[in-house]
Subunit: 187 residues, 2 copies
DNA sequence: GTCTATAATTTGATAGAC
DNA sequence: GTCTATCAAATTATAGAC
């Protein structure tokens, strides 16, 4: 995963450390000093890369968003049916939960919405907008726009809620249970 | 709602102020000084009522949990069908979103799970356990235990995700869309 | 129960040398 | 790009008077 650390640029290391902390404890669970220790530099050097905390926050959301949709596009390249595409969607989010041992960055920041800088909250909103657009795009044409829209929102909310629940109850199986149920109902 | 403030005990005022702040920005968005200002006392007096922050956190989760299930029990007293009971469940959560202009306390704290004291996280887990138990209890007997369990988790995750999404996208209508869809699929 | 006073720590942030 | 040095503000918390 981390290329034994040495090849990585400082910003990469910083973003990785910050993402891990933020996806586990939220926006305020990340401090410049912690990141400095994580990356073996001083906190003033962290400020060189991200002058204000909201700069770091927006960079994190942007990278997270881009990576998510890039992965989604690559992994659905050879998927033909809606079910196949939904399974890819599910598996990417599942990896984020299980392998990173954390929830979705935007799910957590979205929940904290009133306590984070507006510019970061805007990035979060954009992430969810794009999620819904993608989900709508894979739903069958015979569904009405309004049906597709409500199905897409339900799938998104369900996956986000499933991550939160799995972490709260310390049971990743519940994520599979919920998302399998959602996909079954969508097909 | 607040009885023009004068009748309320200090702990009541403190819990109300803290709940409002925590349900909007998370655990770390609540400080003793803010609560002191909100209630017109000094921060040291807040510590008299809640010596440590985790004491406040557990009191908040306990009160929130108790109030939720008390309301649920009262409002489903005369409900006979599963659909009626689910509509009550939906409407209570909807009020929490719309009237309080905030998400579920436990939904937010659950997301922040790795960044809050264990004792608070345990209260959150308990809240969700009880949610699932209640939902399972209203589902039809003809469903298998495993079907009921997965349906209950899906309804819970969907309602929590719907609150988070509604706040992130600043659109409460999406909460209704999602939860109506979920209930339709459950019936 | 509330106050004043205070302490220890953390946090976001800046100035300036190398 | 990173460091030392530093800061002002915020935060959790305690001691003791009233």
């Amino acid at each position: 995963m981390d290329e034994s650390d040495s090849k990585m640029s400082t910003t990469e290391k910083l973003l990785n450390a910050a993402e891990h902390r933020m996806r586990r404890g939220g926006y305020n669970a990340v401090s410049f000093r912690d990141l400095a220790n994580d990356t073996n530099i001083k906190s003033s050097s962290v400020h060189y890369h991200y002058p204000k905390k909201e700069d770091l926050g927006t960079a994190l959301v942007d990278r997270y968003s881009k990576r998510f949709f890039d992965t989604l596009n690559v992994k659905t390249e050879n998927a033909t049916t809606m079910e196949q595409k939904l399974k890819v969607y599910q598996s990417i989010i599942r990896s984020a939960l299980v392998e990173d041992d954390a929830i979705c960055l935007c799910g957590l920041l979205g929940a904290e919405g009133a306590g984070i800088p507006d510019v970061v909250a805007n990035g979060v909103q954009n992430f969810f907008d794009e999620n819904i657009k993608w989900l709508v795009s894979i739903l069958p044409q015979e569904m009405s726009e309004s049906q597709k829209s409500s199905m897409a929102s339900t799938l998104l909310a369900g996956h986000q809620g499933a991550m939160m629940l799995a972490r709260s109850m310390q049971d990743n199986k519940i994520f599979d249970t919920i998302t399998n149920q959602l996909i079954k109902e969508a097909i």
